[in-house]
Assembly symmetry: D2
Homo-oligomer: 346 residues x 4
């Protein structure tokens, strides 16, 4: 039995962790942490959990929690995990941080894009970037997992095989991303009200979204050079789902079969990445509620570019599902344990 | 291992049966029947099933299928199951019919409301109405299950305890129901297009919806008398979910505690019925993707009426989930096997 | 030229007033009042108004405003208008109050249901309830209009002809109402976030919604007796629209033609009330953006009840449109001036 | 008084033409043409038009219609207008064709992308591409207007000033477009059902959408060279709206002020194009129901690219509104007559 604690359990990502972990018989959630709803009953915050989780929300005391659990998930705002983590805690428990605190290896870039001081930079190098399909081996022995951001997960998985294989010009990458509204969090803001979001689409954070340097770092690691990208996220009137449409200049003439072969090479043994068939465009609804990432591509010989597409559920593979996938790897369990979820349609 | 066949597997209820059965290790789906998509790959019809169900859709040959499986689910239009069922088939396999063919015991009422001739009335009396919380014992030994309609399931469970206990005037019942659009099926009709349904709500089938006599029969069985109700369904711009708001005249002054006690008496041991706490109104999102029915009530002393409410997922407890619950009972399995689904939010 | 001021111009009803008044050449909006956004540019709050209304939001000083305008619209929270109104203001300008402050003639009922003390009860009797189709004559000479609530407008218009004509048992009325989310206002609350409302439906305020006594008062005035009703509003995942489904016991056997004749008698000369044809159920989308109320009915001889239905846009006929209709009447203009809006579909 | 006929009046663009023209006192719609609903009452097809347009739908006889009206709008499938147009008709009436038949000057490109033979190529050169902000002068005297496609309108207006001024590399243009579902038409297809579209986003027609050569032709005309672009449309779960996010490589270092100056130069006198303020991203909801196009841009010095954005209502500026704008110009009326529509929010 694995004992887990969740700090930040009353946000959407925290709620999804609870939903997924509840369905497992080898897991006990010992701690439902919450800053906003301390001392309230969890099922009063998420009524879907009525009679399933009637625990009381606890404060965010990571030190005390470390004594009680085998792993702590932090689904908290930027800076929170970094401000509390220390060797004592790491001596007692593992950390899977769903925030950005340990994702970016260069602390200056972190501080520049996030606009806050990093309070425990000594752990940055040790933390493993938990994109399981790429860093599986390092994850096994990690003490700290930097669980990837939603956009970076989908973007990297859709793009990196073609960078690694030198198919596209690394300087030409443009990522046009679309996300459901749960990605905006559960905070009470006018801009996230139903009537403000419904029946509309817009770009936001154009050229300055914080996931930009995270994607750049991952793609740079793959390419060996320093990659700069354009990244433009959009807010879509739906609850869940991320779609990535990425554009790159081809380095040479390629055929459908060649590119398909590359994707298959990277993903044919990956349980959670589905390379779709020719001409089928990924659609977020087809992966809803599951840990899948659906990817595909289209070559445009007229412009000598390739369009790379990826779709996933931002709260599952983009947050809670990948965090559990990381936990499974860290604890030597089957990687897809508790994650063989069939997408819900409609 | 239980071998199952699904006739009508490419509609929304059929798709949900596949989604739920796929997650079980004790079930093999041997037959994906479809009238519209015969010889097509199942995952081309439901792309969410890519790499999960790449079987080819078969025709709707119930006779041949009966040789191969332990149970057949028919998620087909009215009249289909009745037109094919015979003793030979029933000698070989069990039938769980998700259509209305065997729900109504009086064949004249069936023929009047459905406007078609019933082709195997000899099985009507034998078929067990599969509302598990009420007819559990009879289901155990049934050969034919008439899987209840979505509205009747939610309506009956929300109302019947108060009828049984004589709390409300059986002649006063008004049911105002609201359903997501998956209830309208997957047929290509202008009225079900996104732009026609989105951003709108309307009543339909006012005073003549086919679920009316089904609800009346169930409530009449409970009360001992003949009950006529008003039933008004509405189409809501959402994929899934049914909400029932029912009104009844109180026979006498009652207290919150008394009514709460009645609901608890009927449901405290029922895994799939959750009686919410005082003042909490059921909400369809809180049961989405699960087999739960959430019920609650509000007494209005000003008018001496009681408002009874119920929410469930029309494709789960209202169709596929309840069908599987019936299968579990028929095969002597744990009733909630494969159905301990945590509602998905958001 | 009529000069108008709007207090509370940055909520949804206030925004709709601006949208509708902007299209008129005989109106100048002199004052965009706002408590929350004082000194901000109006088009920064409603970006749809960019380059159309770049005025600066002013504070809510009704006294000062009264010197500058011919009529003040107050689209403000309950109690605000009552706290500021006085004879001096009424000597200078007319008031159309979109809040509930002057709708209910019995101040005790107001204070009980709204939970606040009424600060200017001396004006309650003078104020005219601005349901134009009923009180047109009194509106002409009114100084204060109590602009009706959204649910009361739609409910009263759908029901009152049958009460007036003695067709239904006044003690049997049940109103099941459904509203789009703009009815919940523009305040930043978790419960109104996109992800909390989308893909769900629920009842709220069951048996205790504040529009209940308002509807009861209007129906009682029509019937001559004291009417108590059941009123159950529901929140629907759409921006705009109210649908009323009301139930009443028939006093005697009636025919379709008789009831149709009654509705036609009341509404055939009413520009904004459309009595739909036999069998057509009102749908909120068909009136979106317009000042129409679509009504219809269905007789259920099996239960001897009648179902009365009404649909309208809650922000137009349910708020801003009716307020302007009142203004037109008060100023001796054509009643539908600026309101001949064709519903937008889809 | 201008007499108009609409062929294809029962699709979404046709319905929008009716909605907009109905509000004008100088227009009479004499002919409601429809292939699918001939002899049916118009308001039975669009119930929002009940009592407003109770005319009977006529067949699509353009020859007969030409005798009766001053202008014919054809909101019909590709090939229809081209198959019927002749000199006789053009001698009697003007044509505003909302299909693609006369948009592309090279008939070979038309036939290649649309997969049909053009039946009246003799009119292609004469037809004026009705992008009013660019071709206003030619429109004045045109007999045939090729009303622009929705994506090309929004794309061209967002991009062309920077091409014309030589700011961006014409070979680098990537357009990532998002459209509401009304763009998919009113045909009964499974893929456009509510449950298939709702809660999902996907790309479609990647690299082969028919609007690609139309955009290329317009941008090529501006640049003087032959431009090839990447164009990727996406289907968004909302009724109306198009958002364009376009990417181009900067030819040199530019400042915000310089680019803002260019947009202002092109658009400051254009009633229907709003250049938003610094940092404000266009949002489709802000233009809903109006003829506006909102445009803005963001320079990304890190990658030396510029992101150009545009939002409009696909049924108004993208179809019916622009068609009426063209009509106004052709008939010497004020260009914005009947089109000073305030966007509806929410």
């Amino acid at each position: 039995m694995i004992n887990v604690g969740i700090i930040g359990s009353t946000g959407y990502a925290g709620g999804e962790l609870v939903r997924l972990l509840l369905q497992r018989e080898d897991i006990v959630i010992k701690w439902f942490g919450s800053k906003s709803y301390i001392d309230k009953r969890y099922s009063d915050i998420f009524q879907n959990m009525f009679q399933l989780v009637d625990n009381i929300c606890m404060d965010d005391n990571m030190g005390e929690l470390a004594n009680q659990v085998d792993v702590i998930f932090t689904a908290t705002p930027q800076g929170f995990c970094a401000s509390l983590l220390n060797e004592d805690i790491l001596g007692k428990t593992k950390i899977i941080d769903l925030s950005a605190d340990y994702r970016i290896k260069d602390v200056n870039i972190y501080e520049e894009w996030y606009g806050i001081k990093h309070e425990s930079p000594q752990f940055i190098q040790e933390a493993v970037y938990g994109l399981c399909e790429i860093n599986r081996d390092q994850i096994k022995s990690a003490r700290i997992i930097a669980n990837p951001g939603c956009y970076p997960t989908c973007s990297t998985l859709a793009i990196y095989p073609l960078i690694k294989e030198g198919i596209i010009d690394a300087g030409s990458i443009i990522i046009d991303a679309k996300s459901g509204t749960s990605g905006a969090g559960r905070g009470a803001k006018v801009g996230n009200l139903y009537c403000e979001v419904n029946e509309s689409i817009k770009a936001y954070g154009v050229s300055n979204h914080r996931h930009t340097p995270e994607i750049e770092e991952q793609l740079s690691l793959v390419s060996g050079g320093e990659i700069k990208i354009n990244f433009t996220p959009h807010l879509v009137p739906m609850n869940r789902g991320i779609l990535i449409t990425a554009y790159g200049n081809l380095q040479r003439v390629v055929s459908y079969e060649e590119i398909k072969g590359i994707y298959d090479k990277y993903y044919k043994n990956e349980y959670f990445v589905r390379v779709l068939e020719k001409g089928v465009c990924p659609e977020t609804k087809w992966v809803e509620g599951s840990n899948y990432v659906d990817v595909n591509f289209q070559i445009d010989p007229r412009t000598n570019r390739i369009i790379m597409m990826g779709a996933m559920d931002n709260l599952v593979k983009g947050a809670a599902g990948q965090a559990i996938q990381n936990m499974n790897i860290m604890f030597g369990l089957e990687e897809n344990k508790g994650l063989k979820l069939v997408p819900m349609f409609p």
